[in-house]
Symmetry: C2
Subunit: 385 residues, 2 copies
């Protein structure tokens, strides 16, 4: 079998396998990033125009592109609809960016830790992943400068707002500093913001791309966390120099994004109804976050350290006595508990043992205490070996 | 700007640019492969389950995979649902196959001519495209054997049923011979069948993959030509050795296919209602094909040669006095007529001048005569230069 060279780097997705194992209804899953089932809005389809069954344009539906551009401008991102490319979820934006930039051994810069599926996709295309550590304020700016002084990454991939998996929100000062360094070293910035709207306080978080003065950029978002992930509607907005390439790559990948989902997204994006729904989501998730925090204090107070996230869907725990948390998966699943080991979120898993990502949005609050209790027991048992 | 090496091979899509130019309502477009607008079925959405808004599996919806597998088995393809991967249109299957197989200079084997977007996608990934010519009966078997004796392609990509652009349907004998050669030389077969159901007679066309005894295979199909392309629902069925790789590639590309479109497809695939709709489509397109044939005889009888297609959406004309038909696009559009030049369907465009692909399904019959008359005039004027 003569596969491509890159297939030797094709990893099985741990997330996918855990989610498969966690399908059993008795499993309490802290593993995924699924929106809470009970918060999926009921949507109407009656008014769907029949002509949307026809082929569409690779760019996406014009009205939706307008609405997405308007939303981004309201966040301070200078752009218009001609810079918006509707994608099959924001995951596809990563695939397009990888195709655009990554050859064997191309350097790219990521946060440590970073989004697992981005890391895997970039590595699959052959990237040499440079990692800059995160602090509670965002990227470690000194480490970023040092990295850029000694390397030439094709792009930096950042999730500055409720980062996955760490939950970190970059401070305004950190955002300014990152933008200045991207400009100084002429590094393309890919800013991924799936969790922006899932915010539990009032702190500001203006996109970093809005602070850039010179360098190229791609900003990505999605309706998956605030409307319906099953629509598979995300988007990227790109600086004018990059857009024509990304458009052609989109066309080669799947011609265009499904128009049914695009139409449904258009019924929401930019409307008061969507704002009201998002506000409900925030209240719902904030309450779940608070309950989860309380349960964590009870069961993990002695075991781990963490910061309470102000948005997003995850807690990120650092064990005080580090062990390889991948080895905890099987015993945890035997106790009907699923979680995400932290190691795969680093390009150097072996050098980063002892973190766990716990989703707080999915498991019903009345089961969280039992689930975390079991998970803590599994960890203690492993640490005692 | 440091893009990947492959971006140097990223071509602007001629189809896309023509379709863009052909958006003006006054343009009579013979260029695209769009289903006729008036034949898009009215679909119902009332019963869509709300839980389909949630994330789905990368493989696709279980019931839809079952229905697709059953349909393939009825065609003679031995498979079960575990071999079915639902994709964002069958275009995505080409992207996944390219990722699986193609490094810089990897040989792949295609028909000459072949589907433009496949050719472009494979070349983008760096493929060295070997071309075996088509005859009216299918692939030139002697040329195929010679090609396989002197080369080692990673796969052969064929469209044996109403081939795009040529309209050729491989004979049963040719299908047997191709299958035997794929087995003999251990070449993976990718069989692409978007047009299988758009058939105007009763002749058989059992898939080539059903005739394979040993070698690996991927069979692709779509609902885009018979239901609604805007759903972006296609599929691939793969031999068991390939499936796990394609699944991981799908997950990295966009996590999963949109579930709304999958649900709608499931309301049709394998049902009597779908069969009745497809029968209506066949009657409608057959009548359009006949009217187009008559108009072609009137206006192109002296100019070109062609075979009347027994299925699909296209006529494929060979000019008796070959000229570069790409140069005809601008004068044709000036006359409000669009068509597809034949040269880009060959990996060696310069060596294959003087063909045109004409879609017969889109332009209303009462305008076809005028459109073809204008196109013939444009050709004659260019030939007279």
């Amino acid at each position: 079998m003569a596969f491509s060279e890159r297939v030797t780097r094709l990893k099985s997705s741990l997330i996918r396998e855990i989610l498969a194992a966690a399908q059993r209804p008795e499993v309490m899953s802290f593993a995924g990033g699924l929106p809470a089932q009970e918060m999926l809005p009921r949507v109407e389809w009656d008014a769907l125009p029949v002509n949307l069954g026809q082929y569409g344009t690779s760019e996406g539906e014009p009205e939706l592109r307008e609405a997405i551009a308007a939303q981004a401008r309201a966040l301070g991102v200078e752009c218009d609809a001609s810079q918006v490319l509707v994608t099959a979820g924001s995951q596809q934006a990563l695939d397009l960016a990888a195709k655009l930039y990554i050859d064997q051994d191309t350097q790219v810069l990521l946060e440590g830790p970073s989004y697992l599926a981005a890391l895997q996709s970039f590595q699959f295309f052959g990237a040499d992943c440079l990692t800059v550590p995160l602090t509670a304020e965002g990227m470690d700016i000194e480490a970023l400068r040092q990295c850029l002084e000694t390397n030439k990454p094709a792009f930096a991939y950042l999730i500055p707002t409720f980062q996955n998996p760490s939950g970190v929100r970059y401070t305004e000062a950190c955002r300014d500093q990152v933008a200045a360094l991207m400009d100084e070293f002429s590094v393309t910035l890919i800013e991924d913001e799936p969790y922006r709207e899932l915010i539990f306080d009032d702190a500001p978080a203006t996109p970093i791309v809005s602070r850039l003065k010179r360098t190229s950029w791609i900003y990505t978002g999605t309706v998956s966390k605030t409307l319906l992930p099953g629509l598979r509607v995300g988007y990227l907005i790109a600086s004018l120099d990059l857009y024509p390439y990304l458009l052609r790559l989109k066309q080669a990948a799947d011609l265009h994004t499904n128009r049914i989902g695009q139409w449904q997204a258009l019924q929401w994006v930019g409307t008061p109804r969507y704002q009201a729904h998002i506000q409900e989501l925030r209240n719902f998730y904030r309450a779940r976050r608070d309950a989860f925090q309380a349960a964590l204090v009870r069961h993990f107070g002695e075991l781990a350290d963490w910061n309470q996230p102000q948005g997003g869907l995850f807690f990120w725990l650092t064990l005080r006595q580090p062990i390889d948390t991948r080895l905890l998966l099987e015993p945890a699943l035997a106790q009907d508990v699923a979680f995400m080991p932290g190691e795969p979120f680093f390009s150097d898993p072996e050098g980063n043992l002892g973190r766990l990502r716990l989703n707080f949005s999915h498991v019903a609050p009345e089961r969280v205490d039992e689930g975390l209790s079991r998970l803590a027991s599994v960890i203690k048992a492993a640490q005692a070996l």
